[in-house]
Point group: C2
Chain length 613, copies 2
């Protein structure tokens, strides 16, 4: 039943050897790994204008183009830096691997923690933004905002549990739809203005506005807001193992295509926003205003652009669903998170990581009641910290090894590290009061947690590992087994257990705890009738705490043994087919087992007796 | 830790032999078993007046005295009937025992079901009424009504878990306070009117009222409402085993005292209500109005009466806490409810029954949001059904055996059966639409449930019981044990398990499930180094479903055995001191055990390996 439901929801189980065919090529890898990066472009220009317009008025557009140029420059630096990482880390060059390889354990974990936080935020923010788009179209759903968001996240979770290949088609198509639509809009807009020479109407509101001074603070603030355009780029180098062979080559191709698309779309949107003198309107996004200017308010294309934007926003979350489980699986192999994150589910996806992401993002959405603007400031600090750490790691790598074109390469990564470090500081400072402080507290906490987990795994391994002279651990066979067989009444289940105990060939003690004299007398009579030679030991439990008395008896017997000898406790357990029938019986044997397993030298044997109904 | 908390809340554990000293004498038995019966008198006269006043006006008082006379007559009949039951059933003559003894299993269970429903309702209604009294004094608590009620029920539960003797002092004192106060009020009122000749002011509202006709329906309706005065009387004969020896004599004394008190208080309250022409006022109870007329609105005694009424109402629930667990323990011994209801807790009370009552009453209070008037109509049908069944049972007993003064005794019980049967029908008819229908549906449902449970226990017993030729079940010792020892990696835990398996002296198969070729190769190398002779069987799990593969392997091996032979599975299990560390490890062995225990011929042995931190 449970199995059927599972296969209905996520599909038939796949063999481990089918892993290769589940990986993706360039064509499907691009949309899968880029929806986050590309969708963030949709709101990056808006984030810049929100900062500039109130101060600079019409002069904002010139400043925005400058800032956009700087961000595109940063994009190129990051892209070239990541190409070098892909070359060096064929098994997935996430910031975690790069930083821990070259800078040590702690920087690696800092990178991992930063990225993990960002992945969870990506899902919560994107799904909320997607819901906002849906509720704009269907206002009746507004009161159920949180429910709709949770539903979206559930759909993404299911899609990802189904596995990579199927999800690439499911999630890839809308991304392509968005890319084509937005590029078409940019081309059409530029064509109308520069070829058809249509002159856009000047924005009357901005004409009248008082203009303030261009300050460094203002520019840096706008820059740090616009940097959201770069989030999501690290997904490609993280995801190398998800590509078909030659995976590094494919990953680099996807990275180049992705950067080109971000560049075109970001610059295109900024240019059109300048040309049409788009203002800030809480009810219409910048992209919506551009679409209206280019295609007209009631055109098909206006609605189409709105629709695909909504779609890609909800899908941006998917980048996190690819990235976080992969990151967790790497951390699990290194023992920094629970090992179960390293094992693949029935459909070969890292299902535990997917489910954890689902739970955390849902909790965030519920805790913040679907209010995006409270979550956004937490965003992007983490990404830039991990950018900085991975670029610094690469820089140190080239400076240490000094082989090949190391000077050239060190320059690229060093410059990348510097640029992203400055950006990190700018973002952290500008967003500190809005929530970035929370991230700056969470990161060391997560690092501490991961170190604690690792310490635990190390201790378990130290306990279990067999030393070099391990052969001596195999002992000669002891002459006798000491067996305790508890009994409350003589019945078939007890007789079966007694029969089994006799096969163990040891010293058997049949042990009864008396709470009721009458019952004990009956037991004695029946035991005598069985005509076996093993002693019946009877102990009183005046406080009726049968379990405690039994446990302390077993513990006493255990302590009387020689080293390396084991005491065997045989527990008859009758098994009832219907689960609810268990409510009618004391689950003594279960509780006993869980207590006895904590005794070092006690082996517990359960002998089932199946009750036929 | 858990143990300390337990002993702090309910006291030190008591020995089984201390049972006798926990039982009560007449002085403390009276308040313990009577708080329900006596407190119901407090509102019985009010229930009658609510029905009569709107129709009859001033003529209501005459009618009330007639009805009160009938109810007192019924009370005497019931009392004499119960004296005879106490004589015949020294081990507790609940309606269940009497009806099942003489009328058969189904009537007995109907009586048990009716009483059980009534006990749960008693707790819910009394605690709610007690809360109403508290919130009248402290209106600030009104919004927390449900919380206060649940708190009261929790206090009662704790008190009862502490055991009988202590609770008798805890719960007995307020009952005596109520009895003394109310009897003093009656005496003072009668003294003022008949000795001092103070003439009460006539009720102006009633003087002006139009007067309707006295109809049979009206009288029966008022009678059925007033019959709540009799609820709680059955507690005494149920509770015989809770008395010290000679328990029957003590129980009969308590029954007589109880009946006398009910008679005096009920008739006294009705008389004073007539004399003072008490009207119906939703804000002040009948008792409060009498207290005001006798002592004055601002007197100490007015507040004292209010206070002790509130107290006894919350304590009335205690009768149910004595009665239901005892009834359940008897039903459990007969196999109609889970056996665990028959065992005494650390303080010798039937703790499981007390806890069940606590849970059910709390659920009722939450479900009805503390609205008493919705629960009251469900009340008292059950009591009268069980009265009828026990009296009928006694009547049949005398008619069958015909010994001693059987004619006299048969007349008393027969008349009791007839009177309570008529009352049952009158109540069921008058309260049917208000909720009695629910009780009439619940009773057969509970009977069915109890029969199902008994059938299950019978089947288990049939499965387990050893037939007359039982000695043949002890088999000769088989020559070999077949042992399967699963392994995922070679470590100390595995070696310990292997050592143990070797002591079993059988055919050992070390069994590995491969999900990762690399891991398997390493395992093979390490196993070869151990230099033991047992075969290492390797099976592939292409779908990574290790547990399923292992279970089907064990099942296959099991099926290959001869009859009466067992397959032994040795499971190494490492034990981690801190519970949360278990989150970091797959709980495979636990899940495996619970699946394997369902296989008829598989003995599962867990070999613990304790991890030192």
């Amino acid at each position: 039943m449970r199995k059927k439901l599972k296969s209905l929801l996520i599909g038939q189980a796949l063999k481990s050897t089918e892993s290769e065919s589940q990986k993706f090529n360039v064509f499907w890898g691009l949309p899968i790994l880029s929806s986050d990066a590309i969708s963030s472009v949709a709101y990056a220009s808006e984030e810049i204008l929100i900062v500039l317009l109130p101060v600079l008025g019409l002069a904002s557009y010139k400043a925005m183009m400058g800032i956009a140029g700087a961000i595109v420059g940063l994009l190129l630096i990051v892209m070239f830096s990541y190409r070098q990482i892909i070359d060096c880390y064929p098994l997935g060059g996430g910031s975690y691997s790069v930083a821990s390889d070259n800078l040590g354990r702690i920087p690696g974990l800092v990178a991992a923690a930063s990225l993990s936080i960002d992945y969870v935020l990506t899902v919560a923010v994107s799904a909320t933004a997607g819901t906002a788009a849906i509720t704009s179209a269907f206002p009746a759903l507004l009161p159920h905002r949180v429910g709709v968001t949770l539903f979206l996240i559930s759909l993404l979770t299911l899609g990802n549990l189904r596995g990579i290949r199927e999800s690439s088609h499911l999630f890839g198509t809308p991304t392509y739809l968005f890319i084509v639509s937005i590029v078409f809009m940019i081309a059409a807009g530029l064509f109308k203005v520069f070829v058809l020479k249509e002159t856009p109407q000047p924005n009357p509101q901005l004409m009248r506005q008082q203009v303030g001074d261009v300050t460094t603070f203002l520019i840096l603030h706008a820059f740090s807001s616009g940097c959201t355009a770069l989030t999501g780029i690290e997904a490609v180098s993280n995801g190398i193992p998800s590509f078909r062979e030659p995976s590094q080559k494919r990953a680099k191709a996807v990275l180049a295509l992705l950067s080109g698309l971000v560049l075109i779309i970001f610059l295109g949107v900024c240019s059109l926003a300048s040309v049409y003198q788009v203002g800030y309107d809480p009810d219409r996004t910048v992209v919506a205003q551009i679409a209206q200017s280019v295609f007209g308010r009631n055109s098909f294309m206006f609605y189409e652009i709105q629709f695909v934007t909504a779609l890609i926003l909800s899908l941006a979350a998917n980048t996190a669903f690819t990235g976080l489980p992969l990151l967790l699986s790497i951390l699990a192999k290194d023992g920094f998170v629970a090992r179960s994150f390293a094992s693949r589910g029935a459909r070969l996806s890292f299902s535990n990581g997917i489910i954890l992401l689902y739970v955390l993002a849902s909790v965030l959405v519920i805790a913040f009641q679907g209010e995006t603007h409270l979550l956004i400031p937490l965003y992007s600090v983490g990404v830039f910290i991990s950018f900085t750490l991975s670029q610094s790691g690469m820089f140190k790598k080239w400076m240490t090894h000094r082989t090949g074109h190391w000077k050239h390469k060190a320059f690229i990564n060093g410059f990348g590290a510097l640029a992203t470090a400055v950006t990190s500081v700018v973002i952290a400072e500008n967003k500190f009061r809005d929530g970035a402080w929370l991230v700056l507290i969470l990161i060391p906490l997560l690092v501490w947690l991961m170190l604690t987990i690792r310490r635990h795994y190390d201790r378990v391994r130290d306990n279990l590992v067999i030393p070099e002279n391990g052969k001596e651990l195999i002992l000669s066979r002891p002459t006798k087994n000491y067996v305790v067989l508890p009994v409350q009444s003589i019945n078939k289940s007890f007789v079966k257990a007694l029969n089994y105990a006799m096969t163990l060939g040891g010293v058997i003690e049949v042990y009864h705890i008396s709470t009721d004299q009458e019952q004990t007398d009956r037991l004695k009579r029946q035991y005598a009738q069985l005509n076996v030679s093993f002693p019946l030991v009877i102990e009183e439990a005046p406080y009726r705490n049968v379990n405690e008395v039994l446990l302390s008896h077993v513990d006493g017997r255990q302590r009387g043994l020689k080293e390396h000898q084991m005491l065997t406790v045989v527990l008859p357990q009758f098994v009832i087919p219907k689960w609810w029938h268990n409510l009618l019986h004391n689950q003594t044997s279960l509780r006993l087992k869980s207590s006895m397993v904590k005794m070092r030298n006690v082996a517990v044997i359960t002998i089932p007796y199946i009750i036929n109904e």
